[in-house]
């Protein structure tokens, strides 16, 4: 492994040097030369830049490939570390692309190589039963590693393993979330969904988890990073259309520096205590101890997001942000617990769960009387 990594590091050094030279040559185009000569030179040097960019990306791809194998072997930590290195290479190329507009340094926005961990199907779920209007993000954060959320993750993995025979590639992260004006400890599970199977067939597993934990809604979202050219939106719309899930909604992730978590959480609680309504969103740990605040922006009510970010920004500056598109499906209902359970029940039935199995799940969080009422709703 050490030898392999050494070889990749050497390859990265060589390909980066070639790319640097190709870019320098492109910058040094003799603009006062004969127009025909200049045209040919431009084409050739552009081509060299594109080839050199591809060679650098290839190194990142190899890192991703080995990360995938390590993941399958259960070495999640090394897999994550290698993905992070690959992401850094992508980021470096993105920076270069900004300095050299018009040059091909990156694959198209729909290429899965862009943002290797974000092209996933994400599921947001909590283990707090039903809906609570209280907001205490700091307290919820302190409870993020409680066993209930880990059990929830395991339950979700178990259900999704039914629909995808290949080993699941998943990252579970815990934190605090906002739902219907209240806050709660929450879990954000991200699955690499290469063939779209989880997004297409995973709603039943989400419903099973929701039924066993008395959750109103579970959102299953396919995330598509925004490449900045507008193509991402077009692509997201096409995917949404094929899944009968129009239209995609914007996503925003804001990252705060490591060591500032407490200050950010206190700022949020302070802002809510000043009489503001807490917008729906998820706050989780990001790489390197940073804090990520993530929003799926469904509609106008999410004006609160802007105000919240402005209020937190007065105390702690964010270090970066990421935008994208989400195509979402949901199971459940936001109206009341019984309507929600009935909808989950139907989703489980559609996914092939047996009546007996569903009733067993429902009995974990609903009384016998409520289960009878849910059954009446179904019929």
């Amino acid at each position: 492994m050490a030898r392999w990594l050494e070889a990749r590091a050497a390859a990265l050094e060589t390909t980066s040097a070639v790319l640097g030279k190709a870019l320098a040559d492109h910058r040094a185009l003799p603009i006062d030369a004969d127009p025909e000569v200049l045209r040919v030179l431009t084409v050739v040097r552009r081509y060299r830049v594109a080839v050199a960019g591809d060679a650098v990306l290839e190194v990142a791809d190899e890192l991703e490939e080995i990360a995938r194998s390590l993941f399958a072997d259960g070495d999640h930590a090394t897999a994550r570390a290698l993905c992070l290195v690959a992401d850094r290479i992508d980021e470096g190329l993105e920076r270069l692309a900004k300095v050299h507009p018009g040059l091909t340094l990156l694959p198209s926005p729909k290429d899965p190589r862009v943002d290797r961990w974000q092209r996933v199907t994400a599921i947001n779920a909590s283990d707090s039963q039903s809906v609570s209007p209280r907001v205490d993000v700091e307290a919820d954060w302190a409870l993020r590693n409680r066993p209930g959320l880990h059990e929830l993750d395991a339950h979700l993995d178990e259900g999704l393993a039914r629909v995808q025979p290949a080993p699941l590639e998943v990252r579970h992260r815990h934190g605090a979330g906002g739902y219907e004006g209240g806050s709660e400890p929450t879990s954000l599970s991200e699955y690499r969904d290469r063939w779209g199977t989880i997004f297409r067939r995973g709603l039943g597993a989400c419903a099973a988890v929701a039924l066993a934990r008395r959750q109103r809604e579970v959102f299953l979202s396919m995330l598509i990073p925004d490449g900045g050219s507008g193509l991402s939106k077009y692509w997201a719309r096409l995917i949404a259309w094929t899944h009968h899930a129009m239209p995609p909604v914007p996503t925003l992730s804001v990252f705060y520096p490591a060591g500032k978590t407490h200050e950010v959480l206190v700022a949020i609680d302070g802002w809510v205590k000043a009489g503001n309504k807490f917008p729906d969103g998820t706050i989780v740990e990001a790489s390197g101890g940073r804090l990520e605040m993530r929003f799926l922006i469904f509609d106008e009510g999410d004006d609160g997001i802007k105000n919240l970010l402005a209020a937190v920004g007065k105390k702690v500056s964010c270090d970066s942000s990421r935008v994208g598109w989400a195509i979402s499906r949901k199971t459940g209902s936001g109206l009341d617990d019984i309507s929600a359970a009935s909808a989950h029940w139907r989703s489980c039935l559609d996914a092939g769960y047996s009546e007996q199995e569903i009733e067993h799940l429902a009995r974990k969080s609903y009384t016998s009387k409520e289960v009878a009422e849910i059954k009446r709703h179904i019929r």
């Binding site: 469904f298 009510g301 936001g334 109206l335 139907r346």
Partner: protein, 129 residues
């Protein structure tokens, strides 16, 4: 907090044609009736309930056109307001010129019900073995 949508409205969940005509009025009635609640966004709650496809769970998959137009408008406003506090978001969520072409073809709901019914044809060509 529990919310109530009348049965006669819930019966039209995912019924785009009905929602196109009566959805906006039903939504405003729902908002007025629950104004006392602390919920941050009643319109969103109503939309998630009524415009989702009950078969696939697709959020807003059965949304009427007036709601889609509102969404587009909100997204534009969102970019403007967020980039005021985070300038790096100036170019976020850009649309592509192809967007004007509208990639979604007309559906059954867009057709005039009084017009002729759509016909599906199957043509087999070439030699059969």
């Amino acid at each position: 907090m529990d919310y109530f949508i009348p049965e006669e409205v819930l019966a039209h969940r995912g019924d785009t044609k009905w929602l196109e005509v009566h959805g906006e009025e039903a939504m405003e009635r729902f908002v007025t009736e629950h104004q006392h609640s602390l919920s941050p966004n009643l319109r969103s709650l109503f939309a998630r309930e009524m415009f989702s496809d009950p078969k696939t769970g697709g959020i807003y998959a059965r949304a009427p056109k007036w709601w889609k137009r509102r969404l587009e408008q909100w997204q534009k406003e969102l970019r403007r307001s967020l980039s005021a506090i985070m300038p790096e978001l100036k170019d976020a969520w850009k649309s592509h010129p192809w967007d004007n072409l509208d990639p979604s073809p007309p559906t059954r709901d867009d057709l005039d019900p009084s017009g002729p019914a759509p016909v599906v044809t199957v043509e087999a060509r070439g030699k059969s073995r």
